[in-house]
Amino acid sequence: MRKFLAIYNREVKSYFSSPIAYIIIGLFLLITGVFYYLIVTSFVQYCMRADMQAQYYRMAPPKLNVNVMAIRNLFQNMSLFMSFFLPMITMRLYSDEKKTGTIELLMTSPITNLQSILGKFSAAVTLFLAMLAFTSVYMILLFIYGNPELGPVLTGYLGLFLLGSSYIAFGVFFSTLTDNQIIAAASTFVFILFFWAIGWVSAMVSPGLGHVLSSFSLIEHFEDFAKGVLDTKHIVYYLSFITMGLFLSFVSIESSRWRGR
């Protein structure tokens, strides 16, 4: 535990003592902020138009749901932006150690590979949580000026957290494969996109195969969280995705010893 914490602390410090953390959090907030603004203004305009129409036809104004029409939309956009930003967090975790040779220090110290993988993974998740925490400002503003339901917001965040952690787990894996950070980030990104696209393909193939494909899709499982539905099958899916990523990282590090690269 102490050694896990040593790795974890060093990684977190290294994120926050370099510009990486601030730039990634800043850019993520910039882009989600722009989309938040667009989504909320278009929702407000839509509401006003609906109100005017209702007055014209002398009907009661329609009840428009901010959860469905704005927040769910925002969560979906955030889940997409995360697939750009999280590979940038994870790309250096092992690639940099391989490039500078510090991996030799880690692998000749009395720490297990599992301790180092979990330490690094948790550090990246911590930075990701900081990123998510800042976006709560958007929600707080909606709660001040509107009356959204809290439930779907919380499940949405839980979904984002699980989805992001899955990205990170595989980001760790891809960074164990190469000493080049760009390659690590690019392959993580393409991998994530692939598991997104599987969901779209499922609509075009036979129903049986389509069902199988869509249950592999990273984003299909996120839909329910965004809608406010909490289903264990989705939680299990993400947890097994994370475990798989970390397990592959472990195998990759062990085998790189044998290959000597």
Binding site: T100, G101, L105, S109
Partner: protein, 317 residues
């Protein structure tokens, strides 16, 4: 303390280390000598548990490097060829981190870091960011990292690379002072380093051990004949011809120091252990030349090394 038995390591089809065996006693400094790509680093990586051996076994402090790697790791300090430094960290934080993962007790950690800084002369840069240090200081921080948990065994891969002459002497003194308490393996391709610091040398070439002995013995064993440097103020060709005709002289090689046209320098090699100096001097004086210098040239470790690691045929005289 360290036992290496028939260690062989392949990288794919390339054999990096071929059936290497040697032992190091407790408190000894062993020099690991060889040209680049001879298999020094690979052997050291096997010993530090970084790489598994394809065949053979190695034990450090009685623990097998493969089956009991965690026990081995606790007992070794390793300085790889490139010091494993986190560039963005401060020296003190870095050593504290290393002490943590090397299982130094929390209450002893500050003392351990201070000691490592003191031993390697890096106390004054303790608060600097590693990135900003000079190559020499980085190397020393690398050494401090290997020392911080006071390990039984130190494995140093070319520890004096990149240092200036003064620092090199300091590091060698430091390494010598560590012997006794620590068992040290030191790899290098700088020969004087070995004769100055090590009690025993293992010479490795193309993955195989080609010689193993003390530096003095190695030089003695391999220098069969006596060699002298002769400096005379006469045309080189004449001197060379004359000296070659003398009895007991096996070989004369001109070795003129550049820039001095008046004096000729020659290397004269005698046959066997026969003393040829009186003959040389007499002949030079009789020819009316002046003798400026006559110095014995023992076969240096450098020659031994070249002799063992190059397969060139002796030129026929």
């Amino acid at each position: 303390m360290i036992e290496v038995q028939n260690v062989t390591r392949y990288f794919g089809r390339v054999m990096a280390v071929n059936d290497v065996s040697f032992e190091v006693a407790k408190g000894e400094i062993l020099g690991f000598l060889g040209p680049n790509a001879a298999g020094k680093t690979t052997t050291m990586r096997v010993l530090t548990t970084y790489l598994p051996a394809t065949k053979g076994t190695a034990k450090v402090a009685g623990f097998d490097v493969h089956d009991q790697s965690m026990e081995v790791r606790k007992r070794i300090g390793y300085l790889p060829e490139n010091p494993p430094l986190y560039q963005e960290m401060r020296v003190r934080d870095y050593l504290d981190f290393v002490a943590k993962i090397k299982q130094v007790e929390p209450k002893n950690r500050k003392k351990a870091v201070d000691e490592a800084l003191g031993k390697t002369g890096t106390t004054n840069v303790g608060n600097r960011v590693i990135k900003t240090l000079s190559k020499g200081y980085k190397q020393r921080v690398g050494l401090a990292q290997a020392l911080v948990h006071n390990p039984d065994v130190l494995i140093l891969d070319e520890p004096t690379v990149g240092l200036d002459p003064k620092q090199i002497i300091e590091v060698r003194e430091l390494i010598k002072s560590l012997a006794g308490n620590h068992t040290i393996i030191l790899s290098t391709h700088i020969l004087p380093e070995v004769s100055m610091t090590c009690e025993r040398v293992v010479i490795i070439d193309k993955g195989k051990v080609v010689a193993e002995d003390s530096p003095d013995n190695l030089t003695k064993k391999l220098s069969g004949s006596m060699r002298f440097k002769v400096v005379v103020d006469a045309p080189r060709d004449q001197v060379e011809e004359k000296l070659r005709s003398l009895p007991g002289v096996k070989k004369v090689t001109p070795a003129n120091a550049p820039g001095n046209k008046k004096l000729s320098t020659l290397l004269v090699e005698g046959q066997g252990k026969e003393e040829i100096r009186p003959v040389l001097v007499k002949s030079i004086i009789e020819n009316g030349w002046n003798l400026y210098e006559l110095t014995p040239e023992g076969m240096s470790l450098e020659d031994v090394f070249l002799h063992l690691t190059t397969k060139e045929e002796e030129p026929v005289q």
